[in-house]
C-alpha cells in the first residue's frame, strides 16, 4: 500500500511538472506537443550530469547540478520550438511532432557515441546513474521520499500564484487569449510567448529527469519516456489548463500508472488474473477515454496555435 502511494506520488510529480510546462506554453499561445521530446532531452541532461558526478559529491550539490542541467537542456530544446513557432511563425503542431522525433533520436545518438568512446564493445544506449540518484531519496521507514515530490508540489503552488496573482501571469494569459489586445496595451507578445515556451522547456526537462529516476537506476534512451509527454498533455487538458485541476488530474493518472508497478502486491488484483499488459495500458486507456469525454467541453486558450503577426489586426 505504501509502495502504491509512493509510486503514485512520484509519477504524479512527473505529470504535474510536465503538464504545468504545457500549461505555461499554451497560456502564452503556443501549443507544445513536443513535451515528449523535451522530456527526453531534459532526462538526458540530468542523466549525463549524474553519470559525471557519480556517488561522491554531497547530496545538495548533486540535486542542484542535476536539476539545473536537465532544466537547461529542456529550455534549450524548447527554444527550437520557440524560435520556429514565434519568430518564423511555423506550424506548431508539426513542430511539436518534429521535436518529439528529434528528442528521442538525438538522445540515442549521443548516448551511444558516449558509450562507444568509453568502451568500444558497448553499443547500448543506456546510462547508469544508480549512485548519484541516491541523493534524491530519503528513506522514511518503508517510504522512499523523493525530493522531486516536494519540487513538484512547490512548482504547482508557484504556478498558481504566478498565473493568477502576478502581472506576468496576467500578461501571459492575455497573450494566449487575445494577443492583439495585449499588443494594443503595449505588451510584447513575442517576449511573453518566448517566456511561456521556455518555462515549459524548463518544467518539461525536469519532468523527464524525474521520470527516468522514478524507480530505476539506469535508463535505456531507446525507450524515450514512454509517452509520458502525451500523458501530461492529457492531464493538462483534463485539468482545463488550471494548475489546481492539473494537480488533481496528475494524481489520478499517476495512480493508474503506479498500479502497473505494484499491482502484484494486492491480493484481490492478483486474483483477477489479468495479464500485466492490462495494467501497463491502463493510464493510456484512461487518458484516451477522459479526452473523449472532456475535450468537447474544454476551453483551451483562444489564440493558441496561431502565430502572432503584428501586421494582422
Amino acid at each position: 500500500m505504501l509502495l502504491l502511494i509512493q509510486y503514485t506520488l512520484i509519477f504524479a510529480s512527473v505529470l504535474v511538472l510536465v503538464a504545468l510546462g504545457g500549461c505555461f506554453s499554451e497560456h502564452s499561445g503556443v501549443i507544445n506537443i513536443g513535451l515528449e521530446g523535451i522530456m527526453v532531452i531534459g532526462a538526458l541532461g540530468g542523466a549525463l550530469m549524474m553519470k559525471f558526478l557519480g556517488g561522491e559529491a554531497p547530496a545538495a550539490v548533486v540535486i542542484l547540478l542535476v536539476v539545473l542541467s536537465s532544466v537547461l537542456a529542456g529550455i534549450l530544446c524548447s527554444l527550437l520550438l520557440g524560435v520556429a513557432a514565434i519568430h518564423f511563425k511555423a506550424d506548431q503542431t508539426l513542430l511539436g511532432t518534429a521535436l518529439n522525433l528529434l528528442g528521442a533520436a538525438v538522445a540515442v545518438v549521443l548516448v551511444r557515441a558516449i558509450n562507444l568512446a568509453e568502451d568500444l564493445d558497448n553499443v547500448s544506449s543506456t546510462i547508469k546513474y544508480g549512485e548519484a540518484k541516491k541523493a534524491f531519496i530519503i528513506r522514511i521507514g518503508d517510504f522512499e521520499f523523493n525530493w522531486f515530490m516536494l519540487i513538484a508540489f512547490v512548482a504547482l503552488i508557484l504556478a498558481y500564484i504566478v498565473l493568477y496573482k502576478t502581472k506576468f501571469g496576467m500578461r501571459l494569459y492575455a497573450c494566449g487569449e487575445h494577443p492583439q489586445a495585449a499588443d494594443s496595451v503595449g505588451i510584447n507578445v513575442y517576449k511573453m510567448r518566448y517566456a511561456g515556451v521556455m518555462i515549459s522547456g524548463a518544467l518539461g526537462g525536469l519532468g523527464g529527469l524525474v521520470y527516468i529516476t522514478a524507480g530505476v537506476s539506469e535508463w535505456k534512451f531507446e525507450n524515450g519516456v514512454a509517452g509520458f509527454g502525451f500523458l501530461a498533455l492529457a492531464v493538462m487538458i483534463f485539468g482545463q489548463w488550471k494548475p489546481v485541476n492539473i494537480g488533481l488530474a496528475a494524481l489520478l493518472f499517476g495512480f493508474f500508472r503506479a498500479l502497473s508497478n505494484v499491482y502484484t502486491g494486492f491480493d484481490f488484483l492478483l486474483s483477477l488474473k489479468l495479464p500485466s499488459v492490462i495494467y501497463n495500458m491502463l493510464p493510456y486507456i484512461i487518458s484516451l477515454m477522459v479526452l473523449v469525454f472532456v475535450s468537447k467541453k474544454s476551453r483551451a486558450p483562444k489564440a493558441e496555435g496561431i502565430p502572432y503577426d503584428k501586421g494582422q489586426r
Partner: protein, 513 residues
C-alpha cells in the same frame, strides 16, 4: 492661433502596390470632437494605425502640442496620452472588466497584483462619465455596449487626453448610440480631444464639431460641421452624388416560397436555444428582412435554414416541400440560394480560382462534368467568363485569379453572380454589404431588388438599420432568438425598431398570414 492637441502633417504611407495615405494632414483641436469620414479603403484605418504606433509613416510628421514626436509602438502612443477604442474590441474575453482595464498598466506590490485602488479609480471614472459597468463581470458575459464602455474606461484609466473612436456605433442599438454620443460630448466638455471615425453622416451631424474627409487615400478637406450638410459630406466622401436611397416599386407578393414553422436551433455556446420557436413566411416578389443586433440568433437561424446546422425542432417548407432534414446540396439544387454572412468561411474557397468558385455548386452537372467524371475545363472557363462580364467582377487574372487575391467587393460580386445565376426560387442574403464601399453597396442593393421584381422570394438578414429600412418590404425583428416584432418599413421609425432590437419592447408575432 489655434491650440492643436495633435497634428498629423503631410502623412504618406505606402503598401506594396498601393498608397494608403497620400500626403494627408489632420489637425485635432483641444476639446473638440473631430470626425474622420471616408469610405472603406479610404485610408482612415491606416492613418489611425500610424497615430497609434502600429505603422510608421513613409513621410510626414506628427506633432503633439506643437512639438514633433515619434510614435513607434502603442506604448509611445499611450505615453503621449493617445488612446483608442478599436472597431473590433481588444478585450480578453475570459478576463473581468477590471482586469481588462488594468492590463498593461498593472500596479504591483512585491510582485503581486494590487487591484483595490484600480477598482476604486474605475468606479469613480464610471460614475463621473456615466459609463456603467460591473468591474467583476467577465467580458464574454456582458453586452456589446458594456464592452465598449470598458474600452472607453480603459482609455480614461490611463488618463489619455486624445481619444480615438474607430467606428464605435457599428455594433450598437440606436439607444446605445444616443448614450455614446452623450458620453462623447461630456468627455469633450472635460477637455478631452476626440477623433471619431465613421461613415455615418447623421452621427457626424449630431456630435462632431469639425469633419475631415478622406477619399482613396487622399485628403479632400476639413469642414465645420455647422456649416455643412449631409449631402455635401457625402459628395466629398464619394466624389460624386450618390443616391443613398434605393429606388424600388411597391412589392407584389405572390405565393409562399418559404414557410418556417416553430423552428428552434440549439446554441453551441449555452444550454438555451439560439433560435426559439421561430415561424415566418417569405412570398415570391417580396424582400423580408430580419433586423436585429448581431448575435441574437440570426446566424444560427440561417445555419438551420440552409442546413449548415441541424434544427432541433420545427418544420421548414420550401415550395410546399419539407426540407427540414434535407442535405445541403439538395436544398441548393431545389431552388435555394445563399449569400452567406462570412464570405471567406462559407462563400468561397479562398485558394481556388475564381472560375472554380463560380461553378462550386454546379460542377457536377452534365454541363461541366463528362460521363467519366472528368471536369470540362473549357466549359467552366466559358461559363465563368460569361458571369464575369455580366456581373462586372474585376480581378487581376480573370477567371484564373485566386479568390484570395480579389477585393472584398469583387469576392462578394462573385458569390452573388453564382447564387443569382442559379435562378433560385428563394434567395437568402446575410449581411450582403458588410465591409463594402458605397458603390458596391448600391450595386448589391439593386441586384436584390431585381431578384424580387423577377418574382423570387428574398430573405435578407441585416444588422444595418439603413439597409433594412431601404430594402425591406416587411421587417421582422429578432431578439435573443425570437421574432419580437413585425413591421412595414413605411409605418415604423428607426427609433421604434431600436426598442424592439434591444428587447425593451415586443409584440406577439406568429405565422398568421
Amino acid at each position: 492661433m489655434d491650440n492643436y492637441a495633435i497634428e498629423m502633417l503631410n502623412i504618406t504611407k505606402k503598401f506594396p502596390g498601393i498608397i494608403a495615405n497620400d500626403n494627408i494632414t489632420l489637425r485635432l483641436k483641444k476639446g473638440e470632437i473631430h470626425a474622420l469620414l471616408g469610405e472603406n479603403g479610404a485610408g482612415k484605418s491606416t492613418l489611425m494605425s500610424i497615430l497609434f504606433g502600429f505603422y510608421q509613416p513613409d513621410g510626414g510628421e506628427i506633432k503633439k502640442d506643437g512639438k514633433k514626436v515619434e510614435i513607434n509602438n502603442p506604448n509611445d502612443a499611450n505615453a503621449l496620452g493617445i488612446g483608442m477604442v478599436h472597431q473590433h474590441f481588444k478585450l480578453v474575453e475570459c478576463f473581468t472588466v477590471l482586469d481588462n482595464i488594468i492590463l498593461g498598466v498593472e500596479t504591483t506590490k512585491g510582485g503581486f497584483l494590487q487591484k483595490k485602488e484600480a477598482r476604486q479609480k474605475v468606479l469613480e471614472l464610471s460614475k463621473k462619465y456615466g459609463l456603467s459597468v460591473d468591474p467583476d463581470a467577465v467580458i464574454e458575459n456582458i453586452t456589446v455596449g458594456m464592452q465598449q464602455r470598458t474600452e472607453i474606461l480603459k482609455m480614461l484609466y490611463r488618463d489619455n487626453e486624445i481619444l480615438i473612436f474607430d467606428e464605435p456605433t457599428a455594433v450598437l442599438t440606436p439607444q446605445e448610440i444616443k448614450e455614446l454620443m452623450a458620453v462623447m460630448k461630456s468627455l469633450a466638455a472635460e477637455g478631452k480631444s476626440i477623433l471619431f471615425i465613421t461613415h455615418k453622416l447623421a452621427e457626424i451631424m449630431e456630435v462632431a464639431d469639425r469633419c475631415s474627409v478622406l477619399r482613396k487615400g487622399k485628403y479632400i478637406g476639413t469642414v465645420d460641421v455647422k456649416d455643412t450638410s449631409p449631402e455635401q459630406l457625402s459628395a466629398m466622401m464619394v466624389g460624386r452624388d450618390v443616391s443613398l436611397a434605393v429606388e424600388k416599386k411597391p412589392a407584389q407578393p405572390g405565393d409562399v416560397v418559404l414557410d418556417i414553422k416553430n423552428m428552434s436551433v440549439a446554441s453551441k455556446r449555452s444550454k438555451k436555444d439560439a433560435v426559439k420557436n421561430v415561424s415566418l413566411q417569405v412570398r415570391r416578389g417580396e424582400i423580408v428582412c430580419i433586423a436585429g443586433i448581431d448575435g441574437n440568433g440570426q446566424t444560427e437561424f440561417i445555419y438551420g435554414l440552409s442546413g449548415l446546422e441541424p434544427v432541433k425542432s420545427g418544420l421548414i417548407m420550401m415550395n410546399g416541400k419539407d426540407i427540414t432534414h434535407m442535405p445541403i446540396r439538395k436544398r441548393l439544387v431545389s431552388g435555394m440560394s445563399h449569400i452567406p454572412e462570412d464570405r471567406h468561411k462559407h462563400g468561397l474557397v479562398l485558394d481556388f480560382s475564381l472560375e472554380d468558385n463560380i461553378v462550386l455548386q454546379r460542377y457536377f452537372e452534365p454541363e461541366f462534368t463528362d460521363k467519366f467524371g472528368f471536369l470540362k475545363r473549357n466549359a467552366i472557363r466559358e461559363y465563368a467568363n460569361k458571369l464575369i462580364k455580366q456581373y462586372d467582377i474585376r480581378s487581376g487574372q480573370g477567371p484564373a485569379t485566386k479568390a484570395r487575391d480579389m477585393s472584398g467587393g469583387n469576392q462578394q460580386k462573385a458569390i452573388i453572380a453564382r447564387e443569382i445565376d442559379k435562378n433560385p426560387e428563394l434567395l437568402i442574403a446575410v449581411q450582403p454589404t458588410r465591409g463594402l464601399d458605397v458603390g458596391a453597396i448600391e450595386y448589391i442593393h439593386k441586384q436584390l431588388v431585381a431578384q424580387r421584381d423577377a418574382g423570387k422570394g428574398v430573405l435578407l438578414v441585416s444588422f444595418e438599420l439603413d439597409e433594412v429600412m431601404n430594402l425591406a418590404d416587411r421587417i421582422l425583428v429578432m431578439y435573443e432568438g425570437e421574432i419580437v416584432g413585425e413591421f412595414s418599413p413605411d409605418k415604423v421609425s428607426v427609433e421604434e425598431l431600436g426598442l424592439y432590437m434591444a428587447g425593451s419592447k415586443r409584440m406577439e408575432v406568429g405565422a398568421h398570414e
